[in-house]
Amino acid sequence: MGFWSAVLLPLLLCLLLFIGFFVKSEHLVNTPPMMLWLQFAGAILGIMGLLLLPMLIIFIAYSVNNIEHKNDTWKTLFSLPISKMSVYAAKYFYAFFLVFFCLALFVLFTLGFGNLLSVLKPGLKFNEYNIASLLTQLYFKFFLASLGILSIQFLLSLLFRDFLKPMGIGFVCTITGSILASNNWDYAYLFPYSHPMMAMRALQQAKHGSAGATVPQITVEMFTKDTWVSLAIAIIVFVAGYFIVLKRSVK
């Protein structure tokens, strides 16, 4: 279930955007290609940091652990001659892979549908600007920003069987993180749930940098303070989670 939702989400969202742009193409015909791409990709990127990415992570972390909770198979997994580290790490890296895969699909579908649009509606000049490298960098930054949240949500879903607790905690933290980040609190970079929002700053730079210039330079600063904190938290919580699993009794 987790796997298919990781595939369907990017597909459906990009498709929706494609249809939207297709229908409204007359309004957009004279927009310069780069702006066109930024509008197209930006529609999703905008919501990504705010809500989409944290929710995606909460859901993936939940579904990966829920298979075992639902089927009551934790006890069988831990009674097999497999080290507890292997079980824990395998599940974690599957969730890790799913998030990566989902974001990669967003890149692919955005590029794919954008180019499809320019083929179907020659007035939309998507094909005159290649946003692939910028998009990839942006999404990668989002990915790095998400790792802190992933570790925390994974641990919560491991410890709590129901959906509400990890979801509730994750949701409240997401809102808090968004508020802290958008209000430019000095220490927002230390709170993992602010990181996607802060990754969006890179996009803001991109958007503002291009206003007015004909061939503007857009760079994405990959390893900012918040990215480092996200990675650090990811590693710390992963290790802490392992020790908790080790000590805990399996119900």
Binding site: D72, T73, T76, L80, P81, S249
Partner: protein, 299 residues
């Protein structure tokens, strides 16, 4: 001893669920672990599988200490705890293949196991659609997949019809006699345990009230000779006069404490020679159920 625990104690919060349990499970035995609900059976099994951390006491399996040799011990154990834990969204066959992949067991073994538990026909159906009995059989197949030396089964005949129960019983007996495995089985079905166990451990409120071979248990129960005759009361009085104590008399039978086969024969001869017609005479075991109730209620 395949399983040997010493003074095993486990507490959940304030409640001591297992108290100073010293199990001795011999190799090649079918050890029946009996107890009422809440006695501590499943907790003991979880301790044996290292699903719960040992708090007090020690556990040795295959003469190795459990905590320090976890993986090598677990690789030789097959277990079934409570309801079989199977992935409902996968088919029966896929469940077995998944386990085989995890444990690096060849695929051919999966087919063997399906045949053994008679699930070959339903192998491709989603496990979520299986009946309770089929799920139970799949659970047993999963436990046997790695060809373990020790089988720990928590109520494996739960939900099986009489045919299923007999099949499991015969399978377990075969595994022990032909394949030299050891089976540790917890159950409520006293009649079943009586028919297949070689050793028995009775637990209540976390304490082991009895442990020993099934013969020892039977000896504990003071067997009786049950005699059906044409004149029951007269026969009873006659026996009393001849210094044979009569344990009980009712409308249909009279009961004399059993000492030996020869003695039973002598009583038969005595009554026959004195004109009493014996319709039936046999040794009656106090059945395991009454014995079990007696042991658990007296504790």
């Amino acid at each position: 001893m395949v399983i040997s625990t010493k003074d095993l104690t486990f507490t959940f919060g304030n409640q001591t669920v297992v108290k100073s349990l010293s199990l001795q499970v011999p190799e090649g035995s079918i050890y029946g672990f009996l107890g009422p609900n809440g006695a501590g059976k499943t907790t003991t099994i979880k301790l044996l599988l290292n699903l719960l951390k040992t708090q007090e006491g020690s556990i040795h399996i295959f003469d190795q200490e459990l905590q320090s040799n976890r993986i090598s011990i677990l690789s030789q154990i097959g277990s079934l705890i409570e309801q079989p834990a199977i992935y409902l969204h996968l088919s029966g066959r896929e469940n077995l293949l998944n386990r085989a992949l995890l444990l690096q067991i060849p695929e051919s073994r999966v087919e063997e196991m399906l045949k053994l538990v008679h699930l070959t026909d339903a192998a491709y159906k989603k496990a979520g659609q299986y009946s309770l009995g089929m799920k139970q059989r799949l659970g047993i197949a999963l436990a046997l997949l790695s060809d373990p030396k020790l089988l720990i089964l928590d109520e494996p005949t739960n939900g099986l019809d009489p045919n299923g129960i007999i099949e499991v019983r015969e399978l377990l007996i075969r595994l022990v006699t032909e394949h030299k495995k050891t089976v540790f089985i917890s159950s409520h079905l006293l009649a079943e345990i009586e028919r297949m166990a070689t050793h028995v451990g009775i637990i209540n409120h976390g304490e082991l009230l009895f442990q020993g071979s099934i013969k020892d248990l039977e000896a504990l129960s003071q067997p009786l000779v049950q005699i059906e005759t044409d004149r029951t009361v007269d026969a009873a009085n006659f026996l009393n006069k001849n210094n044979i104590t009569v344990a009980d008399v009712n409308d249909h039978h009279l009961y004399v404490p059993y000492t030996s086969k020869e003695n039973m024969g002598e009583i038969n001869t005595l009554l026959n020679q004195n004109g009493y017609t014996i319709y039936s005479i046999n040794k009656q075991q106090k059945d395991l159920e009454k014995l079990f109730l007696a042991i658990t209620q007296n504790a």
